[in-house]
Each structure stands twice: as C-alpha cells, then as structure tokens.
Subunit: 298 residues, 2 copies
C-alpha cells in the first residue's frame, strides 16, 4: 500500500499497481549460462481518467548496464500489445546485442486492448470493409470513434507515466498494425509532435469510406510535419480479386511522395507474399532497420 | 529424486534433471487477459555419454489443446540455442495461431553450446576464414572436428529422449546458423534420414578449405537424398570487397540445381541488405514458410 501511495504521487491522474515479474527463463538460467540475457517485463495497471477504465500495459526494459547505470533509452509504444509485444521485444533485444548492434537498446511499451474498435478508430462509422453500412442494432462498429480520446490517454496519462518512472530519452516510436496502423497515422496527421517515428503496418484506410486518406490530403503539408519518420506497408490483402487495399496504400504513398514533404523521412514496403497476419513478422523488422539506419552505434 | 529415477528409466544413457519453469509472463497474465497465450519451456539437463558431459536443452511445447489432448507435434531442433531459441519459439507460436495459421504447432528444442567449435565443425582443421592456417599453440580451432560425434549425440541420445518424453510426429527439422549451418548440411550429406528438413543460414563453407563443398560434390546424388527439404541462405558477408562467402553459397546451390536432385526440395535466398547476424531474423521466417508452404492447415 505504501508503494502504491508513492507511485500515486508521481502519477496524479491514476492509481497505479505495479507487478514486476520475470519475463523469460533467461533470468533464471543466467547464473549458469552467461550467453542467456535476462528479459524482464513490468506489468503496470493504470486507472485512466481519460478512458474511464483500468488499462494494463507491458513494459520491457533493457538489462541494466553496470558501466552506464544512468543510461537512458528511446521508447517504442506498440498497439495490439496482446499480439505483438513479445515479438517486438524479442527483435529489439536481439538486434541491440553487441554482436548484432543495428538498433539501440529500447524500452518497449505494449498496450493490450480492452475495446479495440472503440480505441483504434478515428471516427464513429458503420461502413464496413465491403463498402456497405452495417445498420444492424448489434453492429460491431457501434462503439467506434474513440481514437482521438485514446491518443489523449497516451499523451496525458501513459507517456507522462512512462517518462516519470523509466529512464527515457526524448525519442519515441509509435507502432501499430491494421486498426493500429490507422491509429498511428491519425496521430501523425493530427498530433505529429507526440512521437518522432511512426509505424503503420497495413493500415485500414478503408475505415469510414477512406476518412484517413482525405485527412492526409488535408493535413500532410510541408510546414506541419517536421523531422518525423514513417514506415508503412501492406501485404496481399484482397488479392488477386480486389486491389482496393493495395490501391489505398499507393494513394497514401503518392500523397507523401508527390508533395515532397521534406520533414517526413518515409519508407513504403509492399509484401505480396505475406498475408495481413504474417506481414508483421517482416514489417516490424524492416521498420526498425529503416528508423535506425543512420543510428550511430559507437 | 523419485521423478529423476522415473525419467532415468525412460532414458537409459543419461541421468536427467528436469526443471519446468514458466517462460514468459503470458502464463501469469492469462487469467485476466485471455488474448495472451502462455508459452512454457522445459529446461532439461542430459548427462551425455557420447559427449562425456552434461548438456542442457530448452524445450518449447505448444499449449495443450483440450479438444485434442493426444495431439502430436513436429519437432524443430535449433543449434546455438542460446542465441536463437527464443526467436524461433516466438515465430512458431505466432505463426501457428488460429488467426495466422501458416505453420503447424511445433515442439522446439534449443541446444545451447558448451564447446561450439568442437561440436559444430565436421573436421579438425586450423585453416581460418582468411584462408591462412592458425598454427599458434592456443589456436581457437584446436578442439574442432567433433561434428560427427555431436550428430551421434543427437541421433543416439537427444532425439530418442525427446521422442520418449514428448508427443512427437515423425517430422523433424534441423536448423542452424553459421557453424550451425555447416552442421545441418553435414547431417544432410552424411545422415540424410535423421531429419525431414534442414535449415542452413549462412553456412560457413570456408571451413577447412571448403571441405563441405567437396563432400556435397561427392554425396549429393539422386539415389541418396529422398524426400528431404533444405533452405539455405547468405547475407552480405565479406561484401563488397570479398565475394568468397557468397560464391560458396552459389556453388552449393549450383550442385543441387544442376544435378536436378529430385528428392531434395530446396530453396536458396540471398539477403544482400542483411549482415551475418541480422539475417536469422528474416531467414528463419522464410525457412519456416518454405518448409510448410504446402502444409494443409485444415
């Protein structure tokens, strides 16, 4: 209880419960097998005023560097934490090893869902992927449109909490897949300064009859987006019969490319041999390599 | 102690200690977050007569399917278990999810090293990557050449242990990187029936002045290799100055391709944008997709 009160003081809007748990057997094995590096993850439950509910997040923290005990780390926030947190934590841990050394050590914050459609859609809409409205009383899109409120949760509650309790640098990455992809792009378009780099893997541009593509047309201007990075991609969605998903990505890419937005360092990759669900394996890796391609490891 | 005695009966050549430990926090979280699937790993220590030492192995077992409690699984054996076990366990767990479903659920056996150069080289040789002999008294290659004895450990001790204690199908995969890659290829050439599929990521064909390429010339014949699969690859090793590493892969590929070995389903991938150490991220994924490309998930 005392520990909770201590944490409460550092995070005024929320009651915080922290459970520190061992993430892999690596920690247990490390004594006898020094090649095994421990991965530890904190599981933190935030009582969010913005969302009006408790939110659990998973936090991977690199092993302490005894030579640099005050070392600070970039932070990668990943949506659909229940699906992709352990994969990207594995990537970051492996790729930052001294004998691999192509990305820096990072803190990874995985955000699992409570109401995915509510939190990861920018507008309230009943228009489906098939281009038809779902007017049924139990439409699964009924709760949609909480995306901007969810970004408020990130900006006002989650990010301040992480920055108060972990050794962070200013550089932050926001990564998402599918509805998570339109969430990261919505953030880039509406609050570009919240993160330094954005990853959007197969963003669901079909949402609300192309709402985000229209928003991109309106917001992607040379004077607004300054010194940001974005990686976006798609797989074989709808192919070979329906090229709409791929056409949407090409359209987004053409907006960025044709306007020559100098402040936006961008990369688009198409994965024709992957499905919507296998693509994250390749794309999260390629995104990390893109974002850190000029990172100086020395 | 009773449990050890029970296991001893099932594995005559070895004293066995088993530690069952929780591998990730998924298990702990599962009660409140059903989207998180538990990954558990057994750590087994085998007292090997063949190698004359204790060997620890890591074993990932898919979650029990309550509808199919007697379900049996293919087994993937991965060398350099200290480096690559958790990555490939993560891949297999994600790719076999019902909403991804491109590979079957598998048992993964990770084999960490004790004396890597001894176990993962097929011959005793002092010839280095630079083409020069290392004649110093403390040459790191002094202990090399235990590769065939290591294959005996696999065939006579480890595989029988796994098949006695886990629900396995007959299909087995043998995966390795670098020296691990020459180990899997040496196995394919000398004992092709030990496994059904072989993965060799950037195999060190330079070993012992090209010993394995000569062996491939001799052994890769249409009547010996029947109904096997092999995936092999390389990255940007030595480039742009020294194309030898890449040329060795091309030579191995040309032996297989020109002889039209009908019993060997093969795929070669070159990753020019990856290093020797980043390549496994892409190549283990591509290898799994290749091996299971005709797998029927229904």
């Amino acid at each position: 209880m005392n520990y909770n009160r201590y944490l409460k003081r550092h995070f005024r809007n929320s009651t915080v419960y922290i459970f520190f748990i061992l993430f892999t057997p690596k920690g247990l094995v490390a004594q006898t097998d020094p090649a095994f590096k421990p991965i530890s993850a904190d599981i933190v439950k935030l009582s969010s005023k913005v969302l009006g509910e408790d939110r659990k997040v998973y936090i991977y923290v690199p092993p302490i560097d005894t030579l640099l005990p005050n070392k600070r780390y970039p932070v990668l926030y990943i949506l659909d934490g229940d699906n992709h947190f352990s994969l990207i934590a594995e990537y970051c841990q492996y790729l930052s090893r001294r004998d691999v050394n192509v990305v820096p050590e990072m803190i990874i914050v995985g955000i699992p869902n409570t109401n995915r459609i509510r939190d990861l859609t920018p507008t309230n809409s009943i228009w489906g992927y098939d281009g038809k409205p779902d007017t049924s009383s139990n439409s699964r899109f009924k709760s949609s449109g909480g995306g901007n409120n969810f970004l408020l949760f990130l900006g006002a509650e989650l990010i301040p909490y992480i920055e108060a309790h972990y050794k962070t640098t200013h550089f932050k990455i926001f990564a998402g897949h599918s509805f998570g992809g339109i969430t990261t792009i919505n953030c880039l378009l509406t609050q570009p300064n919240m993160f330094g780099a954005y990853i959007a893997i197969s963003p669901s541009f079909w949402w609300d009859r192309g709402y985000l593509l229209s928003l991109a047309e309106e917001k992607l201007k040379n004077d607004r987006i300054i010194n940001k990075m974005i990686f976006y991609s798609d797989a074989n969605e709808g192919m070979p019969d329906d090229p709409t998903f791929h056409a949407n990505l090409l359209k987004f890419d053409s907006i960025i490319t044709q306007r020559k937005i100098t402040g936006l360092d961008h990369k688009y990759v198409h994965y024709p041999e992957d499905t919507h669900m296998t693509e994250p394996i390749k794309a999260y890796y390629d995104a990390l390599r893109f974002i850190f391609r000029r990172w100086d490891s020395h």
